[in-house]
Symmetry: C2
Subunit: 194 residues, 2 copies
């Protein structure tokens, strides 16, 4: 019997079979489950890697992709679309987070895992913290991205610099006037916290 | 004569007149220009403050707004739309950056100034660095936002923590396989750098 889209556990077994390492495990135990989970995690990361390869191959965008998974199923994926859509925020992780939230009808990714082909940049890491997924899996490290011209490390350094020393100058003004917004926010009855 | 939308310089003069401090300066000089620029900067920030007030008043979203200006003209603005659109990345700055880039047909904000009612969170600061505007103006500081429940400081701290110590656990895998994406990227002829 050939199943077009077998569940991940079956696919993991098929892959083991392909590589000549098929072991049928009938016993249930922590070790077995862990092995199954590792296989699933690798499978989802390979899916992200394949998406990124296709994004580069087609010339559509940068060499990055992300996949968001909930309860063993892919909720959404995203590839880098910065140049394709003239959107500097369209990094793979942000695209995937926005799409997953849209599909789930929620601004939080509770119980979701995010897979990304490369360690998130500060913008994406910020987006991850606001979306609050359960776990993040990444493949390449920031230094790998820097080696091909994507210098996230520069932004990480800038974040830790005093405002006056940053490359994009930041100037403060009208704080008192702007504080009235927060005063109104605190008085406001119909508000959704996030 | 009443002009519905006088240019910023005229509006600055009208405001000085209203406060009984109208001085007609015919001489050109650095000091004069500086004063005009300050007036303009304050005016754009007040526009952002008004947008944020309206966002809170209408119950549409969080107490934040941003305005992007180029050559003395507003290119785009944005208000916080996280809960309204189920998009955790829809902070005012990100919304404004995406809109400005869409309007300018560019993924860079060269020569633009970004005005935000509050010091940007790490996600927004990352987005700012990727969009590369000329300057950033902000009103409230991060501590003001934290005082009403928006704790960006927590994310700033997390960014500086080792991966294993972060509240969202981050795990690395399949680096070697993922590096093939960057290898393909470097071979790729038709690519746009960003």
């Amino acid at each position: 019997m050939i199943v077009a889209h077998p569940p991940p556990q079956i696919r993991a077994i098929l892959r083991m079979h392909r590589y000549g390492t098929l072991i049928l495990i009938f016993a249930e135990g922590k070790g077995t489950l862990k092995r199954e989970e590792t296989q699933m995690i690798e499978e989802f990361m390979r899916r992200a890697i394949a998406l990124a390869m296709e994004n580069v191959r087609s010339g559509a965008g940068g060499p990055f992709a992300a996949v968001i998974v909930k309860d063993g199923h892919v909720v959404a994926d995203g590839v880098n679309r910065v140049t394709a859509t003239n959107d500097p925020t369209a990094h793979a992780e942000v695209v995937a987070i926005r799409e997953a939230c849209r599909k789930l009808g929620d601004f939080q990714l509770a119980g979701c895992d995010l897979y990304t082909t490369c360690e998130p940049c500060p913008m994406c890491l910020g987006a991850i913290y606001w979306a609050r997924p359960a776990r993040v899996f990444y493949a390449c490290v920031a230094a790998d991205a820097a080696a091909v011209g994507f210098d996230d490390a520069f932004i990480y350094k800038e974040l830790n610099r005093a405002h006056a020393e940053r490359r994009v100058p930041m100037q403060q003004l009208l704080r008192e006037e702007s504080l009235t917004i927060f005063a109104l926010w605190q008085q406001q009855g119909k508000k959704t916290l996030y």
